[in-house]
């Protein structure tokens, strides 16, 4: 250990990564295979009562925009923030540069 890693932080990070990898692999074993909804009450609720609860027949769309609508709203806010960030970086810089650099003239 002392030869491989120079400080304790590196060793601790690698140990944490290893532990989380083991946990992820262990958790991935519990995911249902595609088409099998017998163990998931949420999936059964979506598929059996989804069209009556939301009124829409596209079940994917009703999950995205209705059942998990707040999640989608957060996604939209993230997307909006990205667009505003791009507009902020690539806006007309000439004007601000002229106003800001008074001491150069």
């Amino acid at each position: 250990m002392k030869i491989l890693y120079k400080n304790k932080i590196e060793a601790a990070t690698l140990l944490l990564v290893f532990i989380f990898s083991v946990m992820l692999i262990y958790g991935a074993g519990g995911i249902h295979t595609s088409g099998d909804i017998s163990g998931s009450a949420v999936a059964q609720q979506y598929l059996h009562n989804g069209s009556e609860l939301t009124g829409s027949t596209n079940i994917v769309n009703s999950i995205v925009w209705d059942f998990r609508g707040f999640d989608t709203l957060g996604e939209e806010i993230v997307f909006f923030t990205g667009a505003i960030g791009v507009a902020l970086v690539a806006r007309n810089i000439k004007k601000t540069r002229k106003a800001g650099s008074g001491r150069k003239r």
Binding site: S51, T54, G55, S56, T57, N58, V60, N61, S62, V64, W65, D66, G69, F70, T72, L73, E76, I77, F79, F80, G82, A83, I84, V86, A87, A90, R91, N92, K94
Partner: protein
Amino acid sequence: MNTMDTIIKETTKIVFPFILVYGLYIALHGHLTPGGGFAAGAIIGSAFALLVISFEKKDLEHKLIIHDLIDIKSVSGLLMLLVLSKLGYHFRDALIDSQTIFRLWSGGFTAMMNIAGMLMVATAIILIIYSLEKEAWK
């Protein structure tokens, strides 16, 4: 930016409204057929991207006033529309009761959210494309 020839320009003129109508169709039928707000917004944004990359600045300025269309204020208004439509979920049961399933006028809250999301995604994509292209035009 004087690279695009006449064929691309004329084809863009013909194809552009059809892409807009297709995106609108995807959004309006989002609760019935595959698609939805995100896909429709991406399609409409791609139509404007086609317009922006195939024309020059002087051709676009008098045909389509992009600078007034895409303002940060308008995008904020659309975000507000999204938030308001999200807050209006008290009326969803009454809305669904008044509709018949499998029709265009159905979907209840999902249909409204699709349209609001389409406007939001489309304007965000147009804003990104236009602000990047404005740098290239300088």
